[in-house]
Each structure stands twice: as C-alpha cells, then as structure tokens.
Symmetry: C2
Subunit: 197 residues, 2 copies
C-alpha cells in the first residue's frame, strides 16, 4: 500500500488552502498553464469521456468580456487576476471518443447516446475535472478563486458559440493576496455528511 | 508564492494514479475513512454549500444491496472492495446553511432558492466534492475505482429514501489489485481541450 503524501502537501492542497478574492501582479506563465493541464488531464472520468473544455482568459479584452458577464462582486476578481479559466462541459464529447477510447469507441458512444446521458455525463465529469484543476493548481503552488456567479448563457454565446460547450464555472488563478481571504466557514461533521452502511 | 508539492505527490494523486477494478483483502479502517472525510471537506464549494452526502458501504448486506443495483460488470467491483462510497447530492443542502454560512445565511439561502439553482448547485458542487474525495483518498495512499454504471433511481430509493439526496456516482476504495488496472487511454492535448483568450 502506498504511503500518505507529506503533511505539507495535504496542507497545501486541502487543509490550509483557501479561496482568494484578490490578486497580486505576479503573472501565470503559459508554461505553468500547460503544466497545470498536464496534471489535471489525468484525473479519472467516466469512460475517459474528458468532457471539460477550458478557455484560459488572460488578455485585457477577454477579461473585460468575461467580467461584463459576471455578477458585480465577481467583476474585480476577474479583472485583477492574471488569469481566469472558464470551465465548460462539451455535451458533444462523444465525438472525441475515437481518440479517448480507441479500443471500444462504438460501444462507449452508444452508451453515452441514450437520452439525457451525454448531458448528465458532461456535467458530472466536467465538474470532476474542474475540481482536478483546482487541486492541481494548488499543488503547483498557485492560488484559486472559483466562482459560479455569472451569466452562463451569455458566456456560452460569447466564448462557446457554434459548439455544444456549456459553461460550468469559472476560476481565477494566480498568486492570491492573503488580505483578500475571508474567515473560514465551518464544514459539516462526518456524521452530518453521511454514515456507514 | 508557494512551491510545487513533491514530484512523488504529483505522481501519487495524478500522474501515476489509476482506476482499479479489483481489490485485495486489506480493509479500510473507520479511522482512515474519517481522515479521508476530514481532508475532502475542505475543498471549496459555491457559498460553502457542501451538498455532497456520503454512504460508506462496507457491510455484506449493504454491498449486496448496492451491487444488485449496479451494472453487471460493476457488481464484482463492489462486492470485492472493502468499501464502496455512494456520493449523493443533497438538493436540500440550503437547510444546513445556518451552520455552513453563519454570517450570511438568509441572503445565501435566498440566492440558492431561485428556480433550478439548488439542483444545478447540488450537482456541480457535489461532483466537485466527489473529485476531492478521489484525490484525498489517493493522497492517503488508497486506491479508487469510481463508477457511474448503476440504477440511480433504485439507489436513491434504497439508500436515500425520505430525503432530497440524489445519488451521483459511486467509488470503491481500498488497496487495489495492480492486475485489475486497464491499459491507460490517451487524453486530449492542451489544444484539443481549450485555448487562451
């Protein structure tokens, strides 16, 4: 059996990690974004469906466009961050299965083609991949500020027109300003969140 | 800026981690399950909504009940595993906001009460928490076998009757049998999965 990773790593990815609402000027280099993707891509998805799609928004024009579609309180969290990624779910993910599931493409496509299955698969697994992104960013020493307060339909039109990609959530990434972190809220106890059977 | 966690930790949680389909007899102690929850609970969710609920199925009766509601190929993956957790999304999660968001309970409850918002919030954030569970388990040296091939409505009736909890996916946890791992499938390239804007 493998060992537990170091206490420092557990702190960095879970126990001490916090959501940041403000950012320093430190940029996120393209090399680091590619390193981040090359980690998160390995997280498991149903039938290797890998439905998440990513728009890494870093240009002033892109940030202004995204901030204009966000809740007012989220606008500065986008404009000040070096990078905000839009995580979308591609409901047409099955088109990529010849690459993703080369030995069993047709049966997998058939399973995902049942009514409603591609939608729920895209949302479930695209969200899993969004969480892998958050953890992978933290593991690389980056801070995250995930947000779901924005106009999903507007973002779909502005960033995903002509595709079957639906925006899921957005996440600012960079070197967070410690002063922008809110006091930590409580979590549910083990017993409040579940039980043994 | 924080450092990257060790290459060994990145391997263990992402790069070398695999989905297991068979299991050794090594049990998962209750202490370890509680340790796992005490890590995953810190992962961020929208408004600290924390909608995931967990049934940690380890009794022979519980396993038989769950396996009977699973796709045939998944039945041995449940029966042989020391533990299979059902990850459910509580659509009624807003009832817990007095604990989870004590300083802003009413405004947060109001935001989540808009039509359709609690459902999508539960699915998005419950799935994020399911991914935190997978990563936290791997970080603790455990192996995972996540599955979505089962009768969701049947599992809801059998395990979540009288609640607003909806099953999302299930995940066997334990000491995986290396011989049960399938060859690894390719992932999308950075350019196939997104772009800069």
């Amino acid at each position: 059996m493998r060992k537990t990773v170091s206490a420092e790593a557990l702190d960095q990815i879970f126990r001490s990690a916090r959501t940041y609402n403000g950012w320093t000027d430190t940029p996120v280099e393209e090399r680091v974004v590619r390193q981040l993707y090359d980690l998160l891509k390995w997280g498991p998805t149903s039938g290797n469906s890998s439905p998440a799609r990513f728009v890494w928004v870093r240009s002033p024009e892109g940030k202004a466009k995204l901030a204009g579609l966000a809740a007012e309180k989220n606008q500065p969290k986008i404009l000040e961050a070096p990078l905000t990624v839009i995580i979308g779910n591609d409901v047409g993910f099955a088109d990529a299965l010849p690459k993703l599931m080369p030995h069993n493409t047709e049966a997998t496509q058939k399973a995902f083609a049942a009514p409603g299955v591609s939608e729920v698969t895209a949302m479930r697994n695209g969200s899993l991949q969004g969480a892998y992104l958050i953890i992978a960013a933290r593991a690389l020493g980056l801070d995250c500020g995930p947000m779901s307060g924005f106009d999903n339909a507007g973002v779909d039109r502005a960033f995903f027109a002509g595709s079957q990609i639906q925006s899921n959530f957005i996440c600012s990434i960079g070197n967070g300003d410690p002063a922008s972190v809110f006091p930590r809220n409580p979590r549910l106890s083990f017993a409040e969140a579940g039980h043994f059977d």
